[in-house]
Amino acid sequence: MPVLTYLEAIRQGLWEEMERDERVFLLGEDIGVYGGAFKVTEGFLERFGEERVIDTPISEAAIVGAAIGAALVGLRPVAEMQFIDFISIAFDQLTNFAAKCRYRWGAAVPIVVRGPCGGGVHGGPFHSQNVEAYFFHTPGLKIVEPATPYDAKGLIKAAIRDDDPVLYFEHKYLYRRIRGEVPEGDYIVPIGKADVKRPGRDVTILTYGWMLHKSLEAAEIIASEGIEVEVVDLRTLLPLDDETILSSVAKTGRAVIVHEDTRTGGIAGEIAMRINERIFEYLEAPVVRVTAPDTPIPFSPPLEEFFLPQVEEIVQAVRWVANY
């Protein structure tokens, strides 16, 4: 099976969807002639032409708004945010327009808004954010964030084929650092399904994105102490896969939630609440979380490293719940 980088897997998924369905088109800043700031769409303009690979003005609200309009009348737009931080400019279009169309008047808005998220590359406060929590609170949206090349390709395809608006967050730290086997040709990773990336019986780690890789490292370290960690990759953040989350935690009785996003109002809080409401009797220890602190994400390498959750913190959290 071919081995691709995370970025190549996204590109292949997009490419195949554009080959498969002529209703699929791309719009965003510098995505055509330049091939995208991270080169995700390199070569697309040459293959698909400027009608389906549209270089736009710097107008995130117009990019997402126009995607909504085109989707309403039957197209399948994929809008790129050059950095996912800039999605805030399109917040209104996403939370008030796209998310509410089906509910208010029964109209489908099959758009995908994708872009690079996350830290680790010293991008500073405006090129490193994780924005899922802003949208996690909006019924009508779906949110996915793959951590592996396999999932990246399968989820971009699923997102494009989905009949609801999907936010597709791709972690820029993983773009060229993570490689993995990716089948040639068509397959999808269903939206709404988490994946057990490492089975274990003692403690469950629930995580996604870059933090999956740090959690797997932590699980490996702690295995030498005789603690078997089950690592669940959420993959879809909205809607959460309650079944996978709850059955894993009901089995281990101990849960650590790890996310790169900041702490207060982060997804970990909601997951912990669901565990509390539904399988409280199965818990052997309090549910804990490992997250970034409640600050903006700083620029300078020592500050950023301090801000980002590290493997050692995850190891300590797992140890703590295991020994509770």
């Binding site: 088109f25 009608e51 389906r52 549209i54 736009t56 003005p57 107008s59 609200a61 117009a62 990019i63 997402v64 708004g65 126009a66 995607a67 909504i68 309009g69 085109a70 989707a71 309403l72 009348v73 039957g74 197209l75 737009p77 400019i89 209104d92 279009q93 008030n96 327009f97 509410k100 089906r102 509910y103 208010r104 008047w105 029964g106 109209a107 489908a108 019924p139 009508g140 779906k142 989905d162 009949d163 609801d164 709404g192 809607p239 959460l240 309650d242 079944e243 709850l246 059955s247 009901a250 669901r274 409401e277 539904r278 399988i279 199965y282």
Partner: protein, 342 residues
């Protein structure tokens, strides 16, 4: 070249303007009787521009109204019962009670409903125009924005986007004097909104919004350019809001003289005068049309009043294409919990 209107077309427009006014008058009574839920936003004095601009559209075109464009909806096939049920929050309303006022539509009918956030429709309608261009269709997209709404970022982003991509989009900018209580000069430092067209490199035009023939012809010109691939138009219509922002607002801040000035320029009165002067209609014609409308309104209002309120469970429906499993508290359902334990 001006496109002349036939007598039938003029009478058609008269019907829609009058229908708009009489439906709103009825809504006002219902409002005072406490029979409608929420606020009432009237378009008194602005019926002409809404009707005439929408009347210039053809089959396959897309329309997105704002709150003071009820007349445009009627032109495109909406019936009074839809408005009454929307205002009453009935289960038979187009949104089944999920949204109110003119916030409804359907892609099949070419009607895209607004959200309350001003300006946001412009990028969306630009996207519809983009799709029309990509699919080699003749369709144009037309939407409205008030003088206040032109101060938003979405207005700028949408128009600039449509200009750069030369999209078949028509934006009718309604200068109706006030945005809620804020007069136009506190909204912008220019006299004519259409002047902004120069900055976008698109066509701009200002017309008398209470002259339905002028509005119709200017909209037709804009549509023709759009279909020919010449890009968007910012068409400004000068009109006036003759009531408050909504019925709770008595508009004490609007000088009497302004209201008197515009009262004399009422679009319905002006069309009546025109029709009479050209021998196309007389008082009997107007009375007949009014009588017909009153009967239509009575029947539709009866239907709305007799309609049931929505089933509360509808509140949970239609968030996603397929219903995801809802995370519930144990007191509500333990079904999933059992699954989790097994």
């Amino acid at each position: 070249m001006e496109e002349a209107l036939t007598p039938k077309q003029l009478l058609d427009m008269y019907y829609y303007m009058k229908l708009t006014r009489l439906v709103e008058e009825r809504l006002q009574r219902l409002y005072r009787q406490g029979k409608i839920v929420g606020g009432l936003y009237r378009s008194l004095g602005q019926e002409g521009e809404s009707v005439a601009s929408a009347y210039a559209l053809e089959e396959g075109d897309f329309l997105a109204v704002m709150i003071r464009n009820l007349g445009a909806l009627f032109v495109r096939g909406v019936r009074p019962w839809e408005i009454f049920t929307q205002y009453m929050g009935k289960g038979t309303s187009p949104t089944r009670g999920k949204d109110n006022i003119v916030h409804f539509g359907s892609v099949e009918r070419g009607l895209i409903p607004p959200i309350s956030h001003l300006g946001d429709l412009i990028p969306v309608m630009a996207g519809i125009a983009l799709a029309s261009k990509m699919q080699r269709k003749r369709s144009v997209a037309l939407t409205y924005i008030g003088d206040g709404g032109t101060s938003t970022g979405a207005f700028h982003e949408g128009l600039n986007f449509a200009a750069v991509l030369k999209l078949p989009l028509i934006v009718i900018a309604e200068d109706n004097g006030y945005a809620y209580s804020t007069p136009k000069h506190k909204q912008m430092a220019i006299e004519n909104i259409a002047d902004r067209a120069i900055g976008y490199g698109i066509f701009g035009e200002t017309v008398d919004g209470n002259d339905v023939i002028a509005v119709y012809q200017a909209t037709r010109r804009a549509i023709r350019r759009a279909r020919e691939g010449l890009g968007p138009t910012l068409l400004e219509v000068k009109t006036f809001r003759m009531r408050g922002h909504a019925e709770h607002d008595d508009a004490w801040y609007v000088p009497r003289e302004l209201l008197e000035y515009w009262q004399k320029r009422d679009p319905i009165l002006r069309l009546e005068t025109y029709l009479k002067e050209h021998g196309l209609a007389d008082e009997t014609t107007f009375e007949e049309i009014t009588h017909r409308i009153e009967q239509e309104i009575e029947a539709d209002l009866r239907y709305a009043e007799e309609s049931p309120m929505p089933d509360p469970q509808i509140a949970l429906e239609g968030v996603y294409a397929e219903s995801p499993s809802v995370s519930e508290s144990p007191s509500i359902s333990r079904e999933s919990e059992v699954k989790a334990r097994s």
